[in-house]
Subunit: 228 residues, 2 copies
Amino acid sequence: MKRHFDADLEDLRGRLLRMGGLCEEMIHAAVKLVVDRDEGLLSPVQEWESQVNRLHLEIDDVCLKLIALHQPAAGDLRLIAAALKINSDLERVGDQAVNIAETGVFLCREPRVKLGDIPRMVEVAAGMLKDALDSFARGDVELAREVIRRDDEEDRLKSQTFNELVHMMQRDSSSIARGMDAILIARNLERIADHATNIAEDVVFMVLGKDIRHPAEQARGEPRPSGA
Amino acid sequence: MKRHFDADLEDLRGRLLRMGGLCEEMIHAAVKLVVDRDEGLLSPVQEWESQVNRLHLEIDDVCLKLIALHQPAAGDLRLIAAALKINSDLERVGDQAVNIAETGVFLCREPRVKLGDIPRMVEVAAGMLKDALDSFARGDVELAREVIRRDDEEDRLKSQTFNELVHMMQRDSSSIARGMDAILIARNLERIADHATNIAEDVVFMVLGKDIRHPAEQARGEPRPSGA
């Protein structure tokens, strides 16, 4: 029974990593659509989203079945709880990538727009997601903490892009609609970095049994027991 | 033991509803800050966020302990799984409300901006959240389905507001920065409605054991068993 359970947990991990891999592909294709002005990339992004959504349903289902059948405790339960959350974050990453691709299709039909630091934002966000997934695969807390630290860089790039684009819109009012679209893409990328940060926080909890979210409230409230 | 477990589940439900109530207060105060140009409302919103964050940590902790101690199955397990997800959606609703309030503080220092359908968007989003929480409290599937249907209205209002504000910005370039801010607030409200929709979907799963998310993938993939 235990060996069977271990195989099931391994399978769960595999599904999540497959889902994460699809999300990475989606981000890169969505941004390539924007940068290369290649509308043809919308359809693969949508096809991957459909696969991501199917995995989203399956993984939730697998997690509940594992809890009901095996009554896991301690580390195994924390892995399943982390899987439930990572599942939900990855599904939202997929949504953000679809948003980028759909906005990109509008942008393809407009004169080329200034993208500010968007290419750099993609590198940071996609890198954070990749490393968050690696930290999950390997139970690597140090890598997870490193991901969390990188989120500030993404926020800084977003503000910079935001300001640059608003200035462009103020100088040239014909650029307002496409400037808005570029700003929304920057927001999507910021969100993807937020989801990667959530995943990294879940990895720290999974490995150490220590909840590092909301540090201000942690200090003031009761410390969260690591037992569960 | 069973009676003790029932009391624990009741306590869990109570905490979630308290957290939801705080989120509702936050939304109303954040939007009042914008409409009445009253910066003084930022500080209560931040104080409530801190309470919401504390509940966020506590509720996750309670859920894992209930699973580890009571090894719930069927309906009880679905309630706890729903609680974990609703907890995460409510925390994000709190974040959105804080974003609205912070953007509002910028807007208070600018000439008054056109708000388009934002007041109506608040009514819809806050109403959806309230009803989603009621459907959770009462296990009311019909109300939950009704919440899900209302999300289209919110999306329609957002697009309308978006277009109206872009036109304003094109007519008067001095309004670009504040127009952007109003658009971001409309996006925050749209997200709140999305979170209310997620909560309603979780209620349907909790009560019926039926996952109604991603209908396209449900039809194509294997039906999700209601057992778990």
